[in-house]
Symmetry: C2
Subunit: 209 residues, 2 copies
């Protein structure tokens, strides 16, 4: 897998390929051609082949792609073969929802800690993990080899907390706050702006043809 410069558009499509291949695998399907996959996923076969060839040749002429092999290769590309330790910052509804949504653990994303600045929540257990006060965050991250911080707090707190995280050795921030974080290039930030998504939906309704 020699990553020269894979475009964001390609990367954004990988999880969807992964999902479809997982379904095919579960159905016991062994091989699939780019053409058949293209019908299933409603994209062009050409795009599928181009996308995969960014990472090397996974197929075989005259045969197509081996489902399980391709599935595993995409997992590797996405880093799903590695374990990631994460903390959730913000033990409100969304934080708890993510903590309880445990398909993530199956993919190697292990919740090691949950933090909140509300003393009343501290000590409470969410999915067997005791909520800690946010003051302990910095120490905890360093001690527990935390890779990923999940930010599920309001935007004011998020900006400040992101600065703290930048000071620790955090690798990535999964940001649910409605604000763009300003952290060094070296930290990966993946935003989930739910209100942006809802506005896009709203646009779709209002401008329906």
């Amino acid at each position: 897998m020699d990553d020269k410069n894979i475009s964001q558009a390609v990367i954004a499509r990988l999880p969807r390929y992964y999902r479809y291949l997982g379904d095919l695998k579960d159905k016991g399907i062994e091989r699939i051609s780019s053409q058949d996959l293209s019908k299933l996923m409603k994209v062009t076969a050409s795009q599928i082949r181009q996308d995969f060839n960014n990472f090397g040749g996974f197929g075989q002429q005259g045969y197509g792609y081996n489902v399980e092999y391709l599935y595993n290769e995409i997992a590797k590309i996405l880093g799903l073969n590695e374990k990631h330790n994460l903390v959730i910052i913000g033990a409100g509804n969304l934080g708890q929802a993510l903590a309880n949504y445990m398909n993530f653990e199956r993919r190697g994303f292990l919740i090691k800690g949950i933090f909140d600045n509300n003393q009343a929540l501290c000590g409470k257990e969410v999915r067997g993990i005791r909520v800690q006060h946010i003051d302990q965050l910095e120490h905890f991250i360093k001690e527990n080899a935390i890779d990923i911080a999940v930010l599920t707090i309001p935007k004011d707190g998020a900006v400040k907390t992101a600065e703290i995280l930048a000071g620790c050795d955090i690798k990535a921030i999964w940001n649910f706050a409605h604000v763009d974080l300003n952290v060094p290039e070296s930290i990966v930030v993946e935003n989930v702006h739910l209100s942006d998504s809802l506005m896009k939906l709203s646009y779709g309704i209002v401008n329906k043809k």
Copy 2:
């Protein structure tokens, strides 16, 4: 506002413009040039002007853009000046988190009902709204002029429920299930695939330069 064919890329940027303009407005800033906004948002001034001009001229040569006016115009484009009635389907953690996250109401998205197929949850109150059994969904949608269904249930249920929704007069589905829904073109679907987002983040960590 004459919508010929605005590209998805442009639409996806509108909520972000809206957010920044809202912040500027709150700070009492009256006008801004595309150049200043471009520095703030880290995009090109050219893109900003192109984007806005898809919807008509909102600026003035030699002056720039009036913040409040532009803010309101974008709100109109996004349909935020209209009210939307919505139901949440799935009263689990995520459904409750969204129900409780009430900035949505401020933007005109009114939660009218919450549904679940788990009898144990029915009758329980979430944010003052009594959870109903999913059997009542169809009836409720038709009676209460519901525009938007928020799907926060596992994927098997989601596919079936989407079919029911397609039968009602629903306008849009905000889909949090990890599956692509197959509904008529006339229904707007906006997906929030959290696991896809987390995989993108994972890719970012593993392939960091």
